[in-house]
Symmetry: D2
Subunit: 314 residues, 4 copies
């Protein structure tokens, strides 16, 4: 049950079978930091290349293919006073051929690698975020902070190294708002040691990350790992105080629904002992779906059911 304080000195832009930065045991806690999606740290220094750079990977002793890695997100806290967003809704979530007519001028925007972006204040004490640069009508609107991790997961199967711009069985860039502080996440292990990666913090984000960013920030992170040997987990699963959640990552969203719903049926039967008919009937009248990322090559959909209902049926 050790607590490891880890200060990253390099980052990865793929989730893969990379050399571990730290070996830990099931039950251990890691206190570390993540840089923002552009590789900027808590000081705003650009310390690595852009593209959801990942802290890690962490090697969990005893983890083998066929196990599930359990990660409790103990703390996800923005560690600087500003974030940034992109400027427009992505064309892939708008009707083909639809073109917004923007009447404003982006020349007063800050830029990064030559492209304009919007800058937001992130006020952890007040629990809010709002647009600061450039000043726009939106600047007056304070949104409640709801910090979440956009991209995290384990090394994918078969020795693959998969870009942090997409997602699959192993997790990756799922951009799901439910991956917030207090949530416990389960990943299917493929590589020895599981090789857990984490990065891409958002101070807040709309469903789907439809502008291609949340309010992108660097984070102070604390997480605790555990291991389930010989698990039935095939897609990421999660739970918080209220919900059981299963995640499908694919395209189109219909396929995400298929993966997430099948995984939920399996979870309810294998781990909670519900008979098949009960699981089907329960989902029929009580399932909920949330939308994760709809910006990347793979989209994300989450299937949810209330823990209280499942507990009542065990």
């Amino acid at each position: 049950m050790a607590v490891h304080k880890f200060t990253p000195s390099m980052y990865h832009n793929t989730l893969g079978w990379h050399d571990a930065v730290l070996e830990i045991d099931p039950g251990d806690t890691v206190v570390t930091t993540t840089v923002d999606a552009r590789g900027q740290d808590h000081m705003g220094e650009r310390v690595t290349q852009r593209g959801n750079p990942q802290t890690g990977p962490f090697f969990i002793r005893g983890a083998e293919a066929g196990d599930a890695l359990v990660v409790r997100l103990d703390e996800l806290k923005p560690n600087r006073s500003w974030g940034f967003t992109a400027c427009a809704v992505a064309p892939n979530v708008l009707d083909p051929g639809y073109r917004s007519v923007f009447t404003d001028d982006l020349s007063d925007c800050p830029t990064f690698d030559g492209a304009p972006f919007f800058r937001w204040a992130v006020d952890v004490a007040a629990g809010t975020t709002h647009l600061t640069e450039p000043e726009r009508p939106l600047s007056g609107l304070r949104l409640p902070l709801d910090p979440m991790v956009g991209c995290f997961g384990v090394a994918p199967a078969g020795g693959q190294a998969i870009s942090t711009s997409t997602s699959s069985h192993h997790g990756g860039n799922m951009d799901y708002r439910g991956f917030r502080q207090g949530t416990t996440v389960y990943f299917p292990v493929s590589a020895p040691g599981a090789l857990f990666h984490i990065g891409d913090g958002h101070a807040v984000q709309g469903d789907g990350e439809i502008v291609g960013t949340g309010v992108e920030v660097s984070f102070d992170v604390r997480f605790t790992v555990d291991l389930i040997k010989g698990s039935s987990v095939r897609w990421p699963r999660a739970q918080d105080d209220t919900w059981l959640m299963t995640v499908g990552n694919a395209r189109p969203l219909d396929q995400c629904v298929q993966h997430a719903t099948t995984e939920m049926l399996n979870w309810l039967q294998t781990d909670f002992g519900l008979e098949a008919r009960t699981a089907h009937q329960l989902l029929g009248q009580a399932v909920a779906y949330d939308v994760g990322n709809v910006f990347d090559p793979a989209y994300t959909m989450v299937c949810k059911v209330r823990r209280a209902y499942v507990e009542a049926l065990r």
Copy 2:
């Protein structure tokens, strides 16, 4: 502002350019009933053929192509003490080739047209519903009632008559849980008089209607209509106390997202006066998506944003 009490004597299984059953004025209220998805009324009598039979259509005087019909769902109340559900999650929302292994026996189920179904008690006074026949582990679970209308809308464009088993611009079988009492819905008018149809009440339903039914009941219905002349509405829109909602009906879900998000951008700009950049930025960090029907030929996705945010920006 008349109140019309209307007792239906026939029903339609398409939304189309049918002869109106009643002519009403903008501002008028209609008090009527709907039968359940199988054509059974408040007494459980089968009074018409199955397939989401529709009460109506109602002709709204003054409505022309290019207008929006406004329908406030004043009351949606189950008017009998039982409903029914189907028995299994549909294969189109499960992984291709996945087969649930049901260990129970459906021979103790009630049947309809030879097929087994499940029967639920609908207790309006207690505000709950639960499985009664056949007795199963799920029978002990009381779900809170959340009545909603599954299928409603106006006559589609170009003289079409479209089955109540699907949906499009005109509405139809959207099975969205947000279409509950108190919600106001906007439909694009194509036919003279708009020709409003309504049916397919659910006492409760999981997202997506993934077993192909909610808890299917007959309803006492009260709704009030209004008209927006020369509207920008192209897809169904709605609002309740908290949310603005736009609806996309298509396949795959990705295309629903495109329709609903584009419609929301148009609504925010045309009707609420937000400039394009503000609308994009607001959605980026504050949009939410809900899943409607994922069972029918056309699926449904809903794009939402909080009214309070939009009001603050006008």
Copy 3:
């Protein structure tokens, strides 16, 4: 085996349960004409409203729900010397956000309802078509004529009337190049008399109708009908000298593949007597797919297998 010469005086923009224009018997032949997609006849006169107007419907005596209507396309001949095309590839078949930069000026184009179009010479004697107005680099290229019918089919199930801009089980706007002279097509009958509609001739067309038009012309048409009582046809089927073809109409194309392939497996087993394993193995190594319409709300994909292979296995 009568031959009916029929001169249309009105047209439909939906395929539906419309009053029949002519009653015929199985075995009969109809000689008639179709107008082009904009309602222009062999003289170029606009005789009805745009949108793939249909000649018919024809009532085939004895046809009932559950039968298959057999239509042999005896002749499909452009009956005037010009056609027209739209000007650009549709955004739904290009990458989201992709914008072609057109450097030419369309002010020298002919117009229709205010929109520019391109005019092509249709030379039936020479068997070619080429762009004539406006003069462009493409004008020098003569394409071989390959006349085909874009939109045809029967009345859809359940009393529906479905726009000629889309397709489903009943046929409709499939824009498949294989629907050419000499091909025999099978449609599932839903309405008494089947109610066969036909229109939307193309002198030639690229796969998918990706600019939204072929070279659109009016046609002289001759077809012969027959009936299969109690058929297994659920989706349009066809055959020519070389191929057996089954058609899936839906979105996305993946779903078209599912419908068409399932229909082919059923056809091979039910009508040609192949055992399931043989049908699967044959398709595995010998199936071919063609793309029909990828422009409309519903797309079209065709599954094919060589008749010679199937005959060898009977």
Copy 4:
């Protein structure tokens, strides 16, 4: 213009930034071999693990990110007398919930890793292949050989290593029948040296690889490479004597169509000098689409246009 004879001693199951097995120059030819999808060589010996093992990668001197690697498939020849196929059409290409009822018994099938398969004779001299084990009605049908490479390509962008069971910008498991002897293929280079991989030979295959295999064989392979510096290639392109081809790899097939069609428009304009309008109009009336793999996580669609048409317009 050297000819390198290369005998592989190990294989990869990902396309990635692996150590090169051989460095060659643009203009050089490589003569080598590939094992079948299960890692079996020309003797039928299992020499590596299953899953489309790749020969290579080959490092092409001078190749840098932003270039195009040109690979001419000089020879693709089955180098043993038998191949194998899987036994059933995959559920993802059949209607959800559809179940074939197989009446035969697979106990007389050969097995591999415990699973039954079908064995085919591959007769290069006669130019045919047919089922040999187990004897089935299909055994009497001789299919013409049409050897093609199922999986090949270059190292993907950003240091990724992507499984040979899928495809993307870099190529991969596209299973396109047009990748036969005589075809020249262009890949976008991401890694220094391009890192070309090749494997997964099929003696013949139906469109889509819908049973999950072609007739899987080991190959004698000869290919010649070249380099285009500073190329516009973003997706695989190809040409043979008749066609220009562009490839989109994604899901759903609609997205493949978008990638392939956009790539073709770019190719016609950037490399063949057609103005945008001409390119659009040409595709509108002359484009053809072929279906590649519809079995894997990413599907494949090919956009084609006749070289003769394009040459006439330059």
